[in-house]
């Protein structure tokens, strides 16, 4: 059995293989922000309660603050930085801009990632499905009306997600 204080690991982050040495008590959020400089992922609560730290792990939204990085090694991770391709915004990002689905913007990366994964699975969502899918992301500015509009509108633009 492997018991180690330091782990040499790699992740497939936004389509690129990133290798590094980590300590086992580091969360995926800490590794993304502090080791890899991917600060688009936000720390809002550090307790799996708010959704600001959401990233996609194997295409599923998870709270990166409450996932041990070492447990996620070798897996595919998409952060907000990975949604933009060749300088072109992901349709969900564009839709949040067009529909003002943003106030202060701190929760936005989490919402956008959750929404993009959801739209990948659900073609013509109802407003209720959108709400359920986003129920693990808190927006304290409470821009929920415009967030729902943004997601519904993006669902009509076609979809694309990269990892």
């Amino acid at each position: 059995m492997k018991i180690k204080k330091r782990w040499k690991v790699f992740f497939l982050i936004n389509g690129k293989r990133r290798s590094l040495t980590i300590e086992p008590h580091w969360t995926l959020l800490e590794v993304l922000r502090d080791q890899l400089g991917l600060t688009g992922t936000k720390k809002g609560c550090d307790r799996a309660e708010c959704g600001s730290c959401t990233v996609l792990l194997e295409r599923e939204p998870v709270y990166s603050c409450q996932v041990l990085a070492v447990q996620a090694r070798g897996q595919r991770i998409t952060t907000i930085e990975g949604l933009t391709r060749n300088g072109k915004l992901h349709p969900v990002q564009q839709s949040f801009i067009d529909h003002d689905g943003v106030q202060c913007g701190f929760c936005t990366p989490g919402f956008v990632l959750t929404a993009s994964a959801f739209l990948d699975r659900t073609r013509r969502p109802t407003p209720d499905q959108v709400k359920q899918a986003l129920s693990g992301n808190i927006c304290r500015c409470n821009a929920y009306v415009k967030i729902i509009e943004s997601v519904l509108s993006a669902s009509k633009r076609g979809k694309r997600i990269r990892d």
Binding site: M1, P24, P61, L68, A133
Partner: protein, 325 residues
């Protein structure tokens, strides 16, 4: 977060041996959605954590011998999309749809959900060394008790937080536990302990033992089930009170009934009195109300949670109405 060592076993047997050897200084980790909060809040201080999540033998779902077998490391979202759930295991599906949030369900596991620790505000707070944590007092008994138990609440009125547990128990689920020496299978209902039996832990798990599988027998034809959860917020909220109910009506009378409450006691609370009163009766609302009343007659509410009696009554009656028809 305070540092710990991290171990990854090759097999269940190796995991159990390791845990047995290390004693309380080692803890198993599944999804980590609960354990990491405990470590960050200084409630748990393991020297090493042992990852069970990469053990492929624990991540299955299959139907075998008329039962649904769910590996302990199955994530809640994997279980949620399992095809037969909607058809045969309605209670589980309903419980999952109200449980935590999509992100937690994507990572959290079935075993982790059943083994999660209490959410009592005092227990989770680093500044209160309460009786459950080895101190001498229960702060909830004469403190803020709005979220605490109304039944079996004399010593430590925490409530068991799991939504899956009442749902599974209403379906007569069993759990398979693996230890360093042997495995044992027991009804999930007997898996949980009251504070009077063990104040510091909530389950019968012995040192070195882990939960490896849940077995849910397929309900008999004609059985209906429902899970009702009463909470203050639409998502990401534990139950104030919940009711899981499974039952069957045959030729106009109740042939089978199991009613289990969450949020009212330190363990998932089986409302046996109600079940017994209704067996063989015609399913009528007056009987449901009387049965609920009989269960709640034993309630001993604290200063802040009297409202739970009425909420529990409502949920029991509504659950029975939905199921027994």
């Amino acid at each position: 977060m305070h540092p710990f060592r991290y171990a990854e076993p090759e097999s269940v047997a190796e995991a159990c041996r390791f845990l047995k050897r290390q004693g309380t200084s080692a803890m198993p980790i599944a999804g980590g959605t609960d354990l990491l909060s405990e470590i960050k809040d200084g409630v748990a201080k393991p020297e090493s954590v042992l990852n069970l999540k990469r053990l492929p033998s624990l991540a299955h779902i299959r139907e075998q011998d008329g039962a649904l077998r769910i590996g302990g490391m199955t994530t809640l979202s994997q279980l949620q999309v399992y095809p037969v759930l909607r058809r045969n295991f309605r209670i589980i599906e309903e419980a999952l749809s109200t449980l935590a949030t999509p992100q937690i369900r994507a990572v959290g596991t079935v075993a982790g959900n059943l083994c999660q620790r209490p959410r009592c505000l005092y227990y989770r707070h680093p500044l209160f060394l309460c009786a459950k944590k080895g101190g001498t007092t229960c702060f909830a008994l004469d403190g803020d008790s709005r979220y605490h138990a109304i039944l079996q609440n004399d010593l430590c009125p925490m409530v068991h937080p799991s939504d899956l547990a009442p749902a599974f128990i209403a379906l007569e689920a069993q759990v398979l536990l693996a230890g360093p020496e042997e495995k044992r299978l027991l009804p999930l209902e007997e898996f949980f302990l009251l504070p009077g039996q063990n104040l510091s832990r909530e389950t019968v798990l012995k040192p070195g033992e882990i939960l490896v599988e849940v077995r849910v027998p397929k309900p008999k034809a004609g059985t209906r089930g429902t899970y009702l959860k009463f909470r203050e917020r639409g998502a990401g909220d534990f139950a104030l009170v919940s009711a899981a109910c499974s039952g069957r009506v045959l030729r106009g009378t109740v042939a089978e009934l199991r009613l289990v409450l969450g949020g009212v006691a330190p363990i998932p609370f089986r409302a046996r009195q109600a079940e017994e009163m209704l067996m063989g009766q015609r399913p009528k609302k007056e009987f449901f109300a009387a049965a609920a009343q009989a269960v709640l007659a034993a309630a001993t509410p604290l200063s802040g949670n009297r409202y739970k009696i009425e909420a529990a009554r409502t949920l029991m009656v509504r659950a029975m109405q939905a199921v027994l028809k």
